[in-house]
Amino acid sequence: MNEIEQTGLAAMRDCWITGGAAFDLAPAAWKTIAGNANPDERERRLLAIAAQAIEIALRPAAPKALKQRPPLPELALPILPERLRPLLRAALKHAADARFKTRVATLVASRGFVLHPLDWMPAASYREVPDVYAAWVDWQAGVDGEKQSRREQLTAQTWDDFYPAARRTALTDMRRTAPALARQLIEAKGSSEPAEVRSTLIELMGVGLSADDAPFLKSLFADRSGRVRELAGRLLARLGEHGNLSDGTPEDLTAELAAFISEGKSGFFRRRTTYAPLKLKSPSQESRRVDLFATCYLGDLAARFSVTESDFVGAWQFGFDDKADLFFIRMVSVSGGEAAVAHLADTLVAEGGKAVLLALHLMARLDSGRKRALIRQILKDTYDLHALIQVEGVEAGWLEWGDLTNGQTLPTLRSPVARNDEPLRRSVDQILETLGFLVTAATAEKLIGDVVAAGMAPAAPSLGLLRLNASLVGP
């Protein structure tokens, strides 16, 4: 289309938009085609020519401000094979929320694959994703796309080259292998980060926490962020550094909490000291005790009674007040030393039944072996299988068939399926989904066979993760 035609087309277009005859505005060549027909027909012919001119002769120009994102990085693991993607999509579709979807990604990562980016992408704000996805988390977060995560050693010099997720992953690894180096980096670079990032970095100090970290943590009591000071106080409490170090736990608060706890004796021959929550008279007192459990540290409380943390935990009398038990365990979880946490977890698991469920609140502090022992005990007791869906931070794909047959797990799952008991089946669906994450491939296959034999549809959506698990083998 030449310039005259373009000008003519623009004029005709403007004329038609407002309404009227455009014949006089048409390029001469087009007028010839429109010919000597009646005015309406001339307009239609010109319309047909204009339509084709717009369609063929004009091409859309690129807007000036088009912005391109950096390429999505390739991850260290291969993409899940195409043949398994339908199973994966079925499992993701059934997963209710980001937490469950992340479990699917974690299971797949544990077998040596990553998901296709169009099937699942980790949200920039969600931190509980397998480390292998750090580059994608950073890609999601890097709205400006100006820099890339580098696969090099994190040092003070390369600190700014790392996006937050990649930095977090690198620091976590470093805390496991070279904790002092990681601490020095956090100390050197953390202070220049905003409070939110700073508190995230201090949280990482919980990995491989040792007495060597105490001086640095104590220095954080001068931090301007209350959240950072609180975190530092709890980490110090876990190291046994208690006694009114931070501004969060004045001694009189610990004394007030101690007043809500009764000290007694039990045993006929071997008298031993026990601690139990006092029976309180009003909801406001209960509420106050809950607040105090959330504020005080286990070490301070134990010192108040002149015993060690482990002795105090071992002497706690569970079952007098469920709410007090729960908040006591939470206090142990956030401020107890490693020994006290392990002691409490072992005690609860050994007790079995309802007590095991309380140990779920200690999950974040337990080592892999204790987490597995806890889950095995829940399955063995079959007191409340539904509690399994609360498990967090546990590895994927290790539970064996023997763990499921070592109790009433299978009959408990089969019964609602066989009776077609709809409400209970929904619970079974959720448990099966969690087991789909925990079990080995061979166990997944057996479990599917078992519940299908009990009457569950072979292609039931709740078996989605189990089916994926059973099909997943390493690359």
């Binding site: 277009r13 938009i17 309404g19 091409r59 401000a65 390429p71 169009l118 039931a460």
Partner: protein, 465 residues
């Protein structure tokens, strides 16, 4: 497999269903017949009267069933036919180790019934499977006797239809001239009412297909940015002028008749010696299921020929009433199969039917079409040269990427051509696509926007539909 003819007779809703089912029991109607005895399931794909196959699955244990056809008879003739084949020639079913995804979907949703057979419908005792088989033979005799009468009536009707359409197109011409006189700004704002009125007139005068197309203009305009709408209105109306003129020149032209009044039947296309047949490997690019303003739902499946050196597409297109409810997809995007297709005769053949479907093929990369970035819409332009009334064209775009403008709208742009052509993308896109380099992209171009179907990238095939 636990079927006998008595059971099928009991399940059938009426004698007509049995008769129709008997005609579908030929193997040629079923490109896929599979079973899984462990799960007590049989399933198949029936090439019915539509372009897209119907997917049928039957639980041989409790006689539960599902068919993707829009029939309101339960079970439909396709389900009965599948049961019939299972009862009479069970060896026709191939044993399958795993169930396809669409069968899994159905199994996941269904509730198992405890009853082993459906209660007899009123009048069930009057159904007879033997009679259904005989219906075929007697019908053939009756058809032969009625052929001449029917053909005479058809010729008369065709003549009446042509006269009526001619008048309809005169009205359309006048309506277009009115829109230009009144102003396209007003047309764009009131296109819903204005198009509905003329579409209703066209339906009355038997220009049904054209009416349907005009009814869709408002939604096509509203899908664009406001500044794009006047140009789009010029394109839409200009194409109608061209189509009306072309029809007047050749009212018997199959393509034009299809676009203005009604489409030929499957049998007519199959019997047409001018209809091109292509046997190749086809990949399902994607499906489009859209509710139309005329109460129909259009169901398009877009296929790409994997053996062609230039991009060759096929569209399997069906219409069914929206009242028939949501229909399941006939294919899964990315499926590849070997098949012979017959194309509806056209200047740029696109719409097709599956004549014969053979085995499924493993997925892989698309052929290297070696497309240059100079004009990614060149193929669309070439189509317009011979059939300027076409609105939507499938295209394969050269290597490129998806970018965002400052308003957050997505654009496709060829790689290494930052100041060249950029094509606007319809709707919202998955943000992950912004980080993927697309080696080739299949899309529908409607003159203003791209509707993405699928792409090839470093992360493999991307389903964008």
């Amino acid at each position: 497999m636990e079927f006998d003819l008595k059971t099928i007779e009991t399940l059938a809703p009426d004698q007509a269903s049995l008769s129709s089912a008997s005609k579908l029991t030929k193997q040629s109607n079923w490109p896929r017949l599979e079973k899984n005895e462990q799960l007590a399931l049989i399933w198949g794909e029936c090439q019915g009267s539509g372009s897209n196959p119907y997917r049928v699955v039957v639980d041989t244990g409790d006689h539960g069933y599902k068919c993707t056809c829009p029939s309101r008879k339960f079970p439909c003739k396709h389900t009965l036919a599948l049961m019939w084949i299972a009862a009479t020639t069970p060896a026709s079913f191939t044993a399958a180790g795993s169930t396809p995804e669409w069968v899994n979907d159905w199994l996941g949703r269904r509730r198992k019934t405890t009853s082993q057979s459906a209660p007899s419908a009123p009048g069930a005792e009057s159904k007879n499977i033997g009679e259904a088989s005989r219906d075929d033979e007697s019908a053939a005799v009756e058809d032969a006797a009625a052929i001449e009468r029917r053909e005479t009536a058809q010729r008369k009707r065709a003549q009446e239809t042509r006269s009526s359409i001619s008048v309809a197109l005169d009205e359309l011409d006048q309506w277009i001239a009115d829109q230009l006189r009144l102003g396209l700004a007003g047309f764009v704002d009131n296109s819903g009412d204005r198009c509905r009125r003329i579409a209703a007139r066209l339906v009355d005068m038997k220009a049904t297909a054209l009416a349907g197309r005009i009814d869709e203009i408002p939604s096509r305009l509203m899908g664009l940015r406001s500044e794009e709408r006047p140009d789009a209105a010029i394109r839409e109306l200009g194409k109608l002028v061209l189509l009306a003129k072309a029809w007047r020149q050749a009212p018997d032209d199959a393509e034009l008749r299809r676009l203005v009044s009604t489409s030929e039947s499957r049998e007519q296309v199959l019997a047409n010696p001018d209809a091109i047949q292509v046997e190749s490997v086809w990949e399902v690019l994607g499906e489009r299921i859209e509710s139309r303003r005329d109460g129909l739902v259009s169901h398009s499946t877009w296929l790409l020929d994997q053996n062609s050196v230039i991009p060759r597409f096929a569209q399997l297109l069906d219409y069914f009433p929206a009242s028939a409810g949501r229909r399941s997809n006939a294919f899964t995007s990315g499926d590849r199969f070997e098949a012979k297709l017959v194309f509806y005769p056209a200047r740029q053949p696109l719409r097709a039917l599956v004549v014969e479907r053979k085995g499924d093929i493993a997925s892989g990369k698309w052929p290297d079409f070696s497309l240059g970035a100079s004009d990614p819409l060149a193929a669309h332009g070439a189509r317009q040269d011979s059939a300027p009334w076409i609105t939507d064209s499938p295209v394969i775009l050269p290597p490129g990427a998806i970018l965002l403008d400052d308003r957050g709208a997505a654009w496709w742009q060829a790689a290494g051509d930052p100041s060249g052509i950029a094509l606007s993308i319809a709707g919202t896109i998955n943000a992950t696509l912004l980080g993927l380099n697309l080696a080739a992209t299949a899309a529908l171009w409607n003159g203003s926007q791209l509707d993405l179907l699928a792409a090839q990238s470093g992360f493999g095939r991307l389903d964008l539909s």
